[in-house]
């Protein structure tokens, strides 16, 4: 299948240099991978399994806003201030992922402009995709005319 994740987005050379910094992790189902407001100093690329992103609701269970699956980037708040997670993340099934230390990656990017450019383009593409998905969900997508006017 055509890969639409990081492997497709970053050319082979810089990708290998990036992957050399990653190490494999596994999280049992139910693990809280990070919490809203926590320090965003890492990110992951999901290899297998699913992760729910959620928002804390006082006095209630966290509200799940999106599920990420295989091949997806988990976490981008490490890239820009205030370097805090704006959502929480929980493994919904056993997860295997590559974990990256953000400081190490950013340091490599300072020297490796090819990687810097490709990684930034990839993260922006991911953010754009999630923004599009969130905007689409603002519509009553499954209602008549997707909440547009029938004209």
């Amino acid at each position: 299948m055509k890969d639409t994740g990081i492997l497709a987005a970053i050319p082979e050379g810089p990708r290998e240099r990036l992957m050399a910094l990653g190490h494999e992790m596994s999280f049992p189902a139910g693990t809280r991978i990070f919490e809203e407001g926590g320090r965003a100093d890492r990110f992951w690329i999901i290899h297998t399994g699913g992760v729910n992103l959620d928002i804390h609701v006082p006095g209630r269970r966290a509200a799940v806003v999106e599920t990420l699956g295989a091949g997806r980037l988990l976490g981008w708040s490490w890239l820009c201030p205030p370097h805090q997670w704006h959502l929480g993340a929980e493994a919904t099934s056993p997860v295997r992922a590559w974990e990256f230390n953000a400081a190490e990656v950013l340091e490599l990017c300072e020297r490796d402009h090819e990687l810097d450019h490709a990684l930034l383009a990839y993260v922006i593409e991911v953010i754009g995709r999630r923004l599009r998905a969130a905007r689409t969900r603002l519509l009553d997508l499954y209602g008549p005319y997707g909440s547009g006017s029938p004209g």
């Binding site: 299948m1 055509k2 639409t4 994740g5 699913g50 729910n52 209630r60 269970r61 509200a63 799940v64 806003v65 999106e66 599920t67 990420l68 699956g69 295989a70 091949g71 997806r72 919904t92 998905a133 689409t136 969900r137 519509l139 009553d140 997508l141 499954y142 209602g143 008549p144 005319y145 997707g146 547009g148 029938p150 004209g151």
Partner: protein, 267 residues
């Protein structure tokens, strides 16, 4: 196909969600020709009107329809009681033409009530193991309470049946997000895949864009365009979309034909 509706008896009417019901119909005497998955009937609620409704199940001459009550006629049809009669004309439209996808992987993308016309397609594929490649069913709904055919979905998971909702309550343990995100989980070889999509047009466009991006050719993406229609026989022009009369040339159209029409602001 008949010009006058034939009487059909309602044999069952069960709820699917707060505004959607599934009704089962048996011909009172003469039956209409056999419907193919993706085709639709004009179903007449006596004294109210008739509306196009896809077949959600085909069992010999018996028909199943799943109807979301949005206006006078659809609400009247949601309210029909077992034992009463409705009028039915059909079969109309192009159908999904599943047999032409023999040997290929299948991706079925359904949003909301769009799962209704895809249900007989899934059943047809499941009833012919070995004829098609891998079957992937991707279902999106607004909330868990809006999901159709819940008891059947589990049996569709070979190799993959994913369900996602836009908004979940605490009881929901499944996926949350747009239906296209489920493609990450699907097992298919894009060049050897035929995709079928039905739902709101915004969803259809998003699904087609994502499938194209992953390498599924436009002519192998079939979508059902359920624009409102009136006569269902290609005469009144009510359902015209560019050069297409959707009641006759559709509702199922290949995406290479539909794409230029769907991107026009208003047609």
């Amino acid at each position: 196909m008949t010009a006058v509706p034939l009487p059909y008896r309602v044999t069952a009417n069960r709820p699917e969600s707060a505004d959607t019901r599934t009704i089962e119909l048996q011909p009172v005497a003469e039956a209409l020709p056999v419907f193919a998955p993706g085709q639709f009937a004009m179903v007449y609620a006596f004294g109210v009107g008739d509306i196009p409704v896809s077949v959600a199940g085909i069992d010999g001459s018996a028909l199943t329809h799943t109807i979301r009550g949005v206006g006078a006629t659809s609400r009247a049809l949601c309210a029909v009681r077992a034992g009463t009669q409705v009028g039915v004309r059909g079969p109309f439209g192009t159908g999904w033409d599943l047999p032409s996808a023999a040997g290929r992987d299948l991706i079925i993308v359904a949003g909301g009530i769009g799962l209704a016309p895809l249900r007989p397609l899934v059943r047809e594929a499941l009833s012919a193991p070995g004829t098609y490649g891998r079957l992937n069913v991707l279902v999106g709904a607004r909330t868990p309470a809006d999901l159709l055919y819940r008891s059947e979905l589990d049996g569709w998971g070979h190799p993959y049946c994913g369900v996602t909702v836009d908004r979940a309550g605490p009881e929901w343990t499944g996926n949350v997000g747009v239906v296209t995100a489920l493609l990450d989980q699907a097992a298919f070889d894009p060049h050897d895949t035929t995709a079928f999509a039905c739902g709101p047009e915004v969803m259809i466009r998003a699904a087609a864009r994502e499938l194209l991006h992953r390498g599924v050719p436009a002519q192998h993406i079939r979508i059902s365009l359920e624009r409102n229609m009136h006569c269902a026989t290609g005469h009144c022009g009510h359902c015209q979309l560019g050069p297409l009369l959707l009641c006759r040339d559709g509702p199922v159209v290949a995406y290479d034909r539909a794409k230029p029409l769907l991107t026009v602001r208003e047609l």
